[in-house]
C-alpha cells in the first residue's frame, strides 16, 4: 500500500516574543477502523483561467462521501493582489492570495439530483423514437416494454442522465450531477412530451413525464468551486488525494 505523507511547518522568529516553530508531519490514511493508507490521487495538476467566471474544480458526486479525502490548492501568482476565492458550493471558505496554499479534508457530500419518470403507454411500433439528452433510441420491437429496455440499454450514452427501469413501462431518469442546472428537464405541460424529451410514434403511443425531484440551484453538494479575482491569466495548482 502506497505511503503518502503531508507535512506542515509554521515558523516565525518575530511573530511572537518567543518565536514560533510548529512542525506537523502526517501519513494520509483512509477513514475508519484499521486505517490504511490513502491510495488514489488525481496527481498534481494546474488549471489556468483568463476570466472571472467561477468553475467547479472537484464535483462531490464523483467521489465517495464521508471519507478521508484531502485537497491541496496553491495560487501560483506572484502578484500580491491576485487571489482565488475558494468555496464549498455556495459557501465561501476564504481567499487564496498570491503564493498561498491550502490543505484540507473534504467530505464530498452529495447533493440533490433532479429526476423524472418517463411512462410509455398505448401502442408503440417498430421504428418509433425517443430523443433526449442528445440520444436517439429507436425501438425494433412494437411494445412499450421493449422501448423501456432499449432506453435503459443505452444508459452509458446519456451524458447528463442515468436511465433505469422503474417498472415494465416506466423509465426513471436521474441527473448524473446534482449541481448541473445547464441541462435541466424542461416541462411544457404535465402529461405532454416536452422540448427536452421528444417522442415520435407511428401509432398512438405516448411518452408522459412526471417530475420526481425538482432541480435545486443550491443542491447542498459540497463541490469545490474556484473564482479567480482577475480576468488575466491566473493559474491554480491542485491535487486531490482520495479513497474509493
Amino acid at each position: 500500500m502506497a505511503t503518502v505523507t503531508a507535512g506542515l511547518t509554521l515558523s516565525s522568529e518575530d511573530l511572537t516574543s518567543n518565536g514560533l516553530v510548529l512542525s506537523t508531519p502526517g501519513n494520509l490514511k483512509k477513514a475508519g477502523f484499521k486505517r490504511t493508507n490513502l491510495d488514489n490521487t488525481t496527481g498534481i495538476a494546474r488549471k489556468s483561467t483568463t476570466s472571472l467566471n467561477q468553475y467547479t474544480l472537484f464535483h462531490a458526486d464523483e467521489f465517495t462521501a464521508d471519507k478521508a479525502h484531502k485537497v491541496y490548492l496553491k495560487n501560483t501568482s506572484n502578484v500580491a493582489s491576485e487571489f482565488f476565492t475558494v468555496s464549498l458550493d455556495e459557501e465561501v471558505m476564504g481567499k487564496l492570495y498570491a503564493g498561498d496554499f491550502a490543505f484540507f479534508p473534504w467530505s464530498a457530500t452529495d447533493g440533490v439530483k433532479q429526476s423524472f419518470t418517463l411512462t410509455l403507454a398505448l401502442t408503440w411500433a417498430a421504428g418509433d423514437k425517443v430523443v433526449f439528452d442528445g440520444v436517439t433510441v429507436t425501438t425494433a420491437t412494437a411494445t412499450t416494454t421493449a422501448m423501456v429496455d432499449d432506453i435503459v440499454a443505452q444508459a452509458d450514452q446519456y451524458p447528463n442522465w442515468i436511465p433505469t427501469e422503474a417498472s415494465e413501462h416506466v423509465v426513471l431518469f436521474t441527473a448524473r450531477s446534482s449541481n448541473n442546472l445547464e441541462n435541466i428537464l424542461e416541462i411544457e405541460s404535465t402529461g405532454a412530451t416536452t422540448a427536452s424529451v421528444v417522442s415520435t410514434t407511428a401509432g398512438n403511443g405516448t411518452a408522459i413525464i412526471a417530475v420526481v425531484q425538482e432541480p435545486e440551484a443550491n443542491s447542498t453538494a459540497n463541490d469545490i468551486k474556484i473564482t479567480p479575482s482577475v480576468a488575466t491569466t491566473m493559474t491554480l495548482e491542485h491535487a486531490l488525494l482520495y479513497e474509493l
Partner: protein, 132 residues
C-alpha cells in the same frame, strides 16, 4: 513587520509518476506584501464527551476581507475512528480530520469555523493567523 513562513510538503513517491513537492509561502495581509502580524497562538483542547459545533473561529470577532489562515489538527492518540468533523458557517461540512490529520485553510474573517467530535476523550489543537 513579522515574517511568518508556512511550508507544505507532500510526498507521493510510491505512486506511479508520483513525487514530492515542497511549497513555502510567507503569510501576508490581503493583497499586500506586509506580513500577517497577529496570531492566537496554538490552543490545545481536550474534549471529554462527544460534542457538536465547538467554535474554532467566530468570524464576528475578526475584520472582514482579510487573508487569515486557520490551522487545525486532530491530535487524538491511539484511535482509528475518532474524527473531528470540520464545518463552516451554518453547518456546511468541510470534511473529517482523523487522528494525525491536519488542515491549513484561508479564512477572510467572514466565515465561522467549528468542529464536532465523534467520540469521547478526543484532543485537537488549532491556531489562527489574522489581521485583527
Amino acid at each position: 513587520m513579522p515574517t511568518t513562513t508556512a511550508t507544505f510538503t507532500l510526498n507521493t513517491s510510491e505512486f506511479s509518476g508520483g513525487g514530492s513537492i515542497s511549497k513555502s509561502t510567507t503569510l501576508r495581509k490581503a493583497g499586500t506584501a506586509t506580513g500577517i502580524d497577529q496570531f492566537t497562538g496554538i490552543s490545545r483542547v481536550y474534549q471529554a464527551t462527544v460534542a457538536a459545533n465547538l467554535s474554532v473561529m467566530a468570524a464576528g470577532s475578526y475584520a472582514n476581507a482579510q487573508a487569515g489562515k486557520v490551522y487545525i489538527k486532530n491530535t487524538t492518540p491511539d484511535s482509528n475512528t475518532a474524527y473531528l468533523l470540520v464545518e463552516m458557517a451554518s453547518d456546511v461540512i468541510l470534511g473529517r480530520l482523523y487522528p494525525g490529520d491536519w488542515m491549513f485553510v484561508p479564512n477572510d474573517g467572514e466565515t465561522d469555523v467549528k468542529v464536532s467530535t465523534s467520540a469521547a476523550n478526543m484532543y485537537y489543537e488549532f491556531g489562527i493567523f489574522h489581521e485583527g
